[in-house]
Symmetry: C2
Subunit: 319 residues, 2 copies
Amino acid sequence: MSDSPKTEKNEWRKDYLLDRWVIITANRGKRPQEFVRKREEKPSEAGTCYFCPGNEHMTPPEISRVGDGKGSWQIRCFPNKFNAVDLSFPKAYGTHEVIVETPVHGQRLSELSVGHLVKVLGMYAERERKLSENKKLKYVLIFKNEGPAAGASLAHSHTQLVSMDRVPMLVQEEMKAAKKAGGGCPYCKIWKKEKQKKVRVIYENGHAIVFAPYAPRFSFESWLFVKPHRGSLGGMSGKELHAVADALKQVLARMDRLLGNPDYNYYLHTAPLRKKDGDLHFHIEICPRLGIWAGFEFGANSFLNSMAPERAAKALREA
Amino acid sequence: MSDSPKTEKNEWRKDYLLDRWVIITANRGKRPQEFVRKREEKPSEAGTCYFCPGNEHMTPPEISRVGDGKGSWQIRCFPNKFNAVDLSFPKAYGTHEVIVETPVHGQRLSELSVGHLVKVLGMYAERERKLSENKKLKYVLIFKNEGPAAGASLAHSHTQLVSMDRVPMLVQEEMKAAKKAGGGCPYCKIWKKEKQKKVRVIYENGHAIVFAPYAPRFSFESWLFVKPHRGSLGGMSGKELHAVADALKQVLARMDRLLGNPDYNYYLHTAPLRKKDGDLHFHIEICPRLGIWAGFEFGANSFLNSMAPERAAKALREA
């Protein structure tokens, strides 16, 4: 591992655990500002937004909500109308849900208060707990697509939740690699080492830390870890949840400031349902969509990244 | 394997060899025409095209060319100015080249004659052979990005070639899986089985076949195989090269007609340099970029595809 903030020559880097490789193309030497993209067209704003208050009747029947104390809601969960999986699909068993995190159309997640974000994470945890009662379900994948370049087809901010009868290969690979590494949870060591090295750390509070991973697939990719070894949101104390929410707000707000409200995806890597914490260390991987994967990425399943994570972290720390 | 052309319920499908999974979301039931995207802005046409005849002095020094018999060229190869790897980078060793397949700005690969495409493949083979003399190089990845949604930053049609001191993980995984399958080359069996089943075949001639793979990551993804067991273009006879060029033209032309000149990537999967044919069965994977990978894909490393390959193949056959 070379950790110089300025990599002068390009280099291949391997993920901490996975056999996943990236070439840091430092020779392209772009400054962070050059990653600010002219925003693509927002998804059509014409017509009605199904996710706005007042249009609740246009979504499938509500599953859960966090009320606002005035008869309306702050957060709302309902089935995805265009579901990839279904309890009635024998070969694609599961549920596909949408969680609208805010009633305010156009509001970005970074603009929510930490208290509100705690409730969003609480909704994720509540759905995970509820779905874990169905023993045929093995995993809940929670992810967010923000903006058209990140695959969002609707502009109103929302998270998706897919429960399934299997554990995704990527999560299996992480678990396998973690086991192979031996000596307890490798992620516990990874975040501590990153904290010690400092150069890739973006933000830290008492119970959570955000850093740019050593071998990022995306420019400004950021990983958010809860510090204590927890497998899922459901296993966290109130303080830990609050720390994760605070760190999430911090990293998203810094991205928004530095990169001009970029489109991004994030996804939670949590332990499989009903598994002990030993299996995976909860983290959120946040992937700004500033470039486009192309023939190299698909043909090699390796990645080109012109923004060294040391430089990305520095820019996000200072943003 | 279910092969009904009309999958009524969604289903998870696994790649022939890799542990790579896709949900065919047949319930979204889009017709092929609905995949035609309003074209994004073409990459800037303003100013000079570095790849056009007359501007040869604006590229790094030429490596090779196919002349047009009139003092100019049909095909031209030179170093990529924005190279990911370099012979002077100890940690990212290799060469990064550009092959401009046609002097005509705006011409698509599907518009080239089969004879011209044979020469393009010949240039790929020539560069691979030349690079194989450098024993530090282990692999040559050849790929094409067509259009901005496929990551092309220049509009003039071109291929890229990255030689490297390692074999990409994806190719290693394919080789490992092929070995594990036992009983000789599994790809030889796969194309024969697809030919027999017919339902996913798109085009076939004497020495080459194109089909939609059973578990495609992309809508209208198409795989082109040379039928005899060959590891690389260099190992093919003239007739086989001609058959591959003909099949390439056929599938690209069908995609262009059906999908309105879609942006796409393709990449060649060839055997590592100086390896016997036994190691990999040459094929080209063609990936139209009609949708956007998002949180599900990145978080699970599994894929959602709303166009069942049986339907895609039928539409491309008839296009």
